[in-house]
């Protein structure tokens, strides 16, 4: 009986398995790299209706975070400023800037296309719906804005600096000492732990690591790692 399959086909199943395995493995690797928050979310920098510059307002003018994000210390949400917060200054300052057109439409009754509708800011930092992150719990216990949002004071256009994945959250919940600051320094973007220590020497605290541990001990910070802390 003649051979139906030629000899070269003997290795075919093996080849198929190897190829399929490589492809599947490749896809899995690619997915686990490209489809994670680290790749997808970090650096997200959409353009906003008004090209608001944090660098000008925070770094140059020295506005405190809480001038606009006024409820960050009392609420879970850090609010985006209402139209009248912007208007407080901008009805006097930079009135003619074309960049502020949307604000005029929203706030200035004398503007020809005034409609009183709010400005739609594009959301940058977004956690899934089942995550309940609470800003006030963090900023009133010594975690700075900077720890999660990066150097916003230097950003012309805000982008997402950290990946905000659950693993990233847990890193800090497991060792909060890396990010703890004295409560007075939470909103200070120029904070440097070493400089602070030089100015405010503390007994038994020589390094910035020791400062973190000391603050953790003193504030009695015991971050939870259980699910219900953020998911309910």
């Amino acid at each position: 009986m003649a051979n139906i399959f030629p000899r070269w086909s003997n290795l075919l199943p093996l080849k198929i398995v190897v190829c399929a395995g490589t492809v599947a493995g490749g896809i899995a690797l690619a997915f686990s790299y490209y489809a994670t928050p680290k790749t997808l979310a970090v650096g997200y920098q959409p353009s906003q209706p008004i090209p608001f510059s944090h660098k000008i307002h925070v770094d140059q003018l020295g506005l405190d975070c809480r001038y606009c994000h006024s409820f960050v210390e009392v609420s879970g949400h850090s609010n985006v400023p209402t139209g009248n917060t912007c208007w407080n200054c901008h009805q006097h300052v930079q009135q003619d800037s074309p960049k502020l057109e949307p604000l005029h439409i929203s706030m200035n009754p004398n503007h020809p296309s005034y409609d009183g509708e709010p400005i739609e800011w594009v959301r940058i930092h977004k956690l899934p719906d089942y995550v309940y992150f609470n800003h006030s719990a963090h900023v009133s216990r010594g975690i700075s804005c900077q720890s999660c949002h990066g150097d916003v004071d230097q950003m012309e256009v805000v982008y997402q600096a950290e990946n905000l994945s659950m693993g990233w959250c847990l890193e800090c919940h497991r060792s909060p000492e890396d990010n703890l600051r004295p409560l007075e320094e939470v909103f200070n973007f120029a904070y440097d732990a070493e400089d602070w220590l030089t100015e405010n020497p503390m007994e038994g605290v020589d390094t910035t690591e020791e400062l973190g541990l000391k603050l953790k001990e003193q504030f009695k910070v015991t971050p939870k790692e259980s699910c219900a802390t953020c998911h309910h």
Binding site: F71, K220, T229, H231
Partner: protein, 1126 residues
């Protein structure tokens, strides 16, 4: 290997209590066994029927096809969707995004306004809680809790109608203006039973403006008992002063309030509220109840006598005569020896407590009974200021009734009628009055209502009414405290008008109807009107007004009692009632009862209420006639009720009885049906499904009212699609309408009924009484304050023995779980040193009223699943209100009058939780502060946890109940192609702090973890404020336990907050005896549910204490209802 079966300990051989949940369990039917042994019945996890399976398969194929076709375009969508943050333009005062604001308001009701604190998120009212600052605050009941859903109801009336057809607002405005400009108009106003001081004031102005104005009042279930106290007067009880209470059919704890019931519940607890005192039987009150069918208050009674409605008057007469009431002299005597032996010690007990006892009658009882009650309280010295019983004058004097209104319409004295009553007179007025005919005779009729019910269609004009959370008003509580009704939101739909706004439009010169907001953002005219009324009562100026808005009430404004004496009418009413009673004789009698879900029919479109099982009968989504087992046997229908029915069909049409049934017969399941009876009374015949009701008087049929308002499909009962537009999806095809049987003379009771079984007809009913039935020993425990012959000792001894009722209770085995309570380093897993949460539920004051169940639904975004899904055991309520009956085997006083014990069961947060160990993905894990947490996003829906839960406290989302409307037929089975809720606004009610769960996810009670987190975080914020206040650098600040631990008893969970009986204590176990919870846990009557299986639950129960009178003939059978389910 066979399944390992856990052996519960043996029931002691001398146990005399028989306990059951359903007739099926009494008969030990295989179906009940199945409920016990399985998490869900067979078939609950399968498709409903072939049709559904087919739709689903097709949808799946369609979707697959569509998705492969779209796959090419798919990649284009691989970009993060843009979402927006939309801040306010002008920030409203007080609103902090993400934080709730709380305002005082109240819900106006006929029995008296319910003072409330309303939770708002960014302007949306989402949750109601009682205003505990208010002197008359009880808790809230299920109706109040569910009323917030009415605001967002998809079937709410939104547009004006003329003659049942949509009409324009301009035409409506023109009609109102015309009426307002005609001072000679013969206009009648029909109000509800609630008392609003502003409305009372405007009534005077209306009478001055319209020379022909007349005023009436109508509530469908009011009865005529109020006549006994005088025009607009009513009794108010002070339970704090009442040590002995005799109630004639008065469900004062729940549906028929006569005063602050929380005082009654406080005196039920031997240790008082807060468990501060030592247990003292003497401090407890004692409740005697005489009624026809179980009410929730009746279930709490120490002694309960069941009598047919006509007999009740005779009994009241006998008691009154023995107390020396002159009016009762000529009344017929009670002949029954057992009843006499019950009355004698009762009368002695009442006489021994002169001035400290209380006798009340249900509002549906005839005037004769109320005359006797007033006279009895007078004789006993209970009447008057500072005494338990008082009569007060409300503002609702000088109002005619429905009969007067109809007479005036026929005589031409009223030509235009403005109907503002929340009742639905075309539907619920007594049949012999023929209200529709009178309505048709009017020149013009205007109906103001939140629903497009039959009256809205029959009237010449219908105006959509604003919800009470949408308009300014005021009200008085039962005791008369002036209480503000503050709007939380502008009307959701712009045409909705409040009662006061309509009256004010009619009073204005130009008749302009201003609703919601005045011109240029000015307040509604109702605001000015309420302020004006308040200025006359509470003083001028902003200060008093602001404190009214903040506190919600005006201190010291309660009614002052009037000097009440039995009126001369008594001599006429009593003999007449006796005559009627004798006419009824021994005939079959019908009681028309308020329904626990829809009340008189007004809540028929409220999905939470419809799905909440009736607290006694456990019927959801329908009504059914209730009948005592013995009467059912006598009438030859008992076997039919319990009969097996063909439940499965071979080849699609041959009925097969037996084990292949998806769910059994009487065991409720999707094939659960009830036989249908034909009830003939007052010359009319109607059909009703019938179920057995324990503890009901013989010869009595109870029919809950309010159903059958609209249908959209043909059924076996000849009900064609009719009146579909009168109800929404929730209320359509619901139950049977009993109102046509009522006449003026027999509004709430009727004698001379006859019953016939309708052969071959059965009606599907979704009954939950067997759902999630637990095995176990001594699930609910009951003790008595007295030592009768076979009680095991006196009160002290019984208290001491509570925790040792089961044989292994006293020596529960050590926890031999593989899962240790310490981690590898020997640190306790429950490591939180600040908070360890716990709960205690007091069965002594719990009456099983469903308030907690609905409050939990509102707080935790629990979906409604619809009748068919409930029938399959898929209801999602996190709190299951178990209701057990228990009877003593040797009870020779009344063997058919069992004790009723309700027991709310939610997740008990076991420290050694069986669910956690079986979850393959760690979706349910323990938190360091003692919660058994659920991570919904991690759950993959294996349901192993629910299978392993001995308390059956877990609920599974078989479908996407939140997104796909379960009330549309077959909708759930269409998967992603199913219809979503359209046009409704239910999503606005959702609590933003709780995840809305999707299909395939397990859920359960988590002790309102969102509230706990909020409280803990709020406490932490204080640290910073403290540092700022001290002026010290934060690094020198002293952070201690007291800085970070929340204050004692400062956080309340939703069920606890709603409870009118303060039966639920919740708190931090580490507060020990400083907290109410800590004290409750220390009590001897504290026990753990299924203690012997070693789960170490955080929720414990307090045994029910009954306080029987040792001289009563049934005393030795009381206080022994300890529930064993074997």
């Amino acid at each position: 290997m066979s399944k390992r079966v856990f052996h519960h300990p043996d029931v002691p051989a001398d146990e005399t209590t028989v306990a059951w949940r359903s007739p099926g369990q009494l008969d030990d039917s295989p179906e009940f066994r199945e409920w016990l042994e399985r998490e869900f019945p067979r078939g609950a996890a399968e498709m409903a029927d072939g049709e559904d399976a087919e739709t689903s398969r097709r949808s799946f194929l369609k979707l697959m096809g569509a998705s492969s076709a779209l796959a090419g375009f798919g990649m284009a969508a691989c970009r993060r969707p843009e979402s927006y943050i939309v801040p306010y333009t002008k920030a409203p005062e007080w609103v902090i995004p993400g934080k709730a604001t709380y305002y005082a308001s109240s819900m106006p009701r006929a029995a008296g306004a319910v003072p409330l604190v309303v939770t708002n998120f960014e302007g949306r009212p989402t949750k109601l809680a009682p205003n505990k600052l208010h002197p008359d605050a009880d808790g809230t009941d299920a109706f109040t809790q569910a009323s917030v859903l009415d605001l967002y109801s998809p079937s709410r009336s939104r547009k004006p109608m003329a003659g049942g057809k949509p009409a324009s607002r301009a035409d409506l405005d023109a009609m109102i203006a015309e009426l307002a400009k005609d001072p000679g108009a013969k206009v009648g106003f029909l109000f509800g039973g609630d008392v609003s001081p502003t409305r009372t004031r405007l009534r005077g102005e209306l009478a001055a403006k319209f020379s022909g104005a007349k005023f009436y009042q109508y509530e469908a279930l009011a009865g005529d008992g109020g006549r006994a106290y005088g025009d607009g007067a009513k009794p108010v009880a002070d339970f704090s002063k009442a040590e002995r209470i005799l109630s004639f059919d008065c469900d004062f704890g729940s549906s028929d309030p006569v005063g602050k019931a929380s005082e009654f519940f406080a005196k039920r607890k031997p240790e008082g509220n807060g468990y501060k005192a030592k247990p003292d039987a003497e401090s407890m009150n004692r409740l005697y109840m005489v009624e026809s069918a179980f009410s929730l208050t009746g279930g709490m009674a120490d002694h309960r006598l069941r009598v047919a409605p006509a007999e009740l008057l005779k009994l009241a007469g006998q008691i009154a005569r023995e107390l020396g009431v002159p009016e009762a002299a000529g009344m017929p005597a009670v002949a029954d020896d057992k009843q006499l032996s019950w009355i004698e010690p009762l009368v002695a007990d009442l006489k021994a407590h002169r001035g400290k006892s209380l006798i009340v009658a249900g509002s549906r009882q005839p005037a004769a009974v109320h005359h006797l009650v007033l006279a009895m309280n007078l004789v006993l010295g209970n009447l008057g200021k500072g005494h338990p019983f008082n009569v007060v004058q409300t503002g609702n004097a000088g109002l005619g009734g429905l009969q007067e209104l109809i007479a005036d319409i026929h005589s031409g004295a009223v030509e235009t009628l403005v109907m503002m009553t929340p009742a639905n007179p075309v539907y619920d007025a007594p049949a012999d009055l023929d209200f529709p005919a009178a309505l048709a005779k009017l020149k013009n009729s205007i109906h103001l209502g939140t629903r497009t019910d039959v009256t809205a269609h029959a009237a010449s004009w219908h105006i959509p009414a604003a919800h009470y959370l949408e308009g300014w008003s005021d009200a008085r509580t039962a005791a008369g405290t002036y209480t503000v009704v503050q709007p939380m939101i502008l009307p959701l739909y712009p045409d909705c008008v409040s009662e006061l706004e309509l009256l004010l439009a009619l009073l204005s010169d130009d008749g302009k109807l201003i609703n919601g907001e005045g011109a240029e953002g000015a307040a509604s005219p109702a605001y000015d009107a309420v302020r004006k009324t308040f200025a006359g009562i509470g003083g001028e100026g902003d200060k008093a007004w602001k404190s009214l808005l903040r506190d919600g009430y005006l201190a010291g404004s309660a009614y002052t009692p009037i000097d009440a004496r039995p009126s001369v009418d008594a001599r006429k009413d009593i003999p007449e009632a006796v005559k009627a009673m004798e006419a009824a004789g021994d005939s079959l009698q019908v009681v028309f009862a308020a329904d626990a879900s829809v009340y008189d029919g007004r809540y028929i479109d409220n999905a939470w209420l419809q799905e909440a099982p009736d607290p006694i009968s456990k019927v959801t989504w329908d009504n059914a006639a209730l009948i005592a087992p013995k009467t059912a046997k006598n009438l030859g229908i008992y076997d039919e009720i319990l009969k097996l029915e063909p439940v499965t069909k071979a080849l699609g049409f041959i009925p097969v009885e037996g084990k292949y049934a998806a769910v059994g017969p009487d065991g409720e399941g999707k094939n659960r049906t009830a036989p249908v009876i034909e009830l003939k009374v007052n010359g009319k015949t109607l059909q009703f499904p019938v179920i057995v009701s324990f503890g009901q008087a013989e010869n009595t049929i109870v029919i809950p009212l309010g159903y059958g308002q609209g249908f959209n499909e043909e059924d076996d009962f000849g009900r064609k699609p009719q009146n579909e537009s009168h109800v929404g999806l929730v209320g359509v095809n619901r139950g049977f309408n009993a109102y046509p049987l009522r006449t003026t003379a027999s509004q709430l009771f009727a004698g001379g009924a006859s019953v016939k079984l309708v052969a071959g007809k059965r009606y599907p009913i979704a009954l939950t009484q067997e759902h999630s039935a637990m095995y176990g020993r001594a699930l609910a425990r009951e003790i008595s304050t007295i030592d009768s012959h076979d009680h095991k000792g006196g009160f002290e001894k019984q208290l001491h023995d509570v925790a040792k009722q089961g044989p292994v209770d006293s020596h529960a085995p050590k926890n031999i779980s593989l899962y240790k309570s310490e981690d590898r380093n020997g640190q306790p897993l429950l490591s939180d040193k600040l908070h360890q949460w716990g709960m205690s539920i007091d069965l002594t004051s719990c009456m099983g009223c469903n308030a907690c169940l609905v409050a939990c639904q509102a707080e935790n975004n629990i979906p409604v699943v619809g009748k068919q899904q409930v029938a399959m055991g898929r209801e999602m309520h996190w709190i299951r209100m178990d209701r057990y009956y228990a009877q003593q085997k040797d009870n020779n006083f009344d063997a058919d009058n069992p004790a009723l014990i309700p027991q709310p069961v939610g997740c008990v947060q076991c420290e050694s939780a069986p669910c956690e160990t079986v979850c393959p993905v760690n979706a349910t894990v323990h938190t360091p502060d003692g919660l058994n947490a659920m991570a919904y996003n991690r759950c993959i829906g294996t349901r192993y946890c629910a299978n392993n839960c001995p308390y059956k406290a877990r609920r599974f989302n078989f479908f996407d109940y939140n997104k796909r409307n379960p009330l549309i037929k077959h909708n759930l089975y269409r998967g992603p192609l199913g219809k979503k809720d359209e046009g409704g606004a239910d999503h606005l009610q959702k609590n933003p702090n709780v995840t809305v769960r999707m299909r395939g996810v397990m859920e359960k009670c988590t002790y309102c973890v969102q509230r706990l987190k909020d409280a803990v975080i709020r406490q932490k914020q204080g640290q910073k404020q403290e540092a700022l206040a001290a002026g010290k650098p934060s690094t020198e600040m002293d952070v201690t336990t007291s800085t970070l631990r929340i204050p004692v008893d400062s956080v309340k969970v939703a069920c606890q907050e709603a409870c009118p009986a303060e039966a639920i204590s919740f708190g931090n176990l580490l507060d020990k005896e400083k907290s109410s919870l800590g004290r409750a846990k220390k009590l001897e009557r504290n026990y753990d549910l299924l203690n012997y299986i070693g789960t170490l639950p955080r929720t414990s129960y307090l045994a029910r204490v009954k306080n029987p009178n040792p001289k009563m003939p049934d005393a030795k059978f009381i206080g022994k209802a300890t529930i064993n389910i074997v």
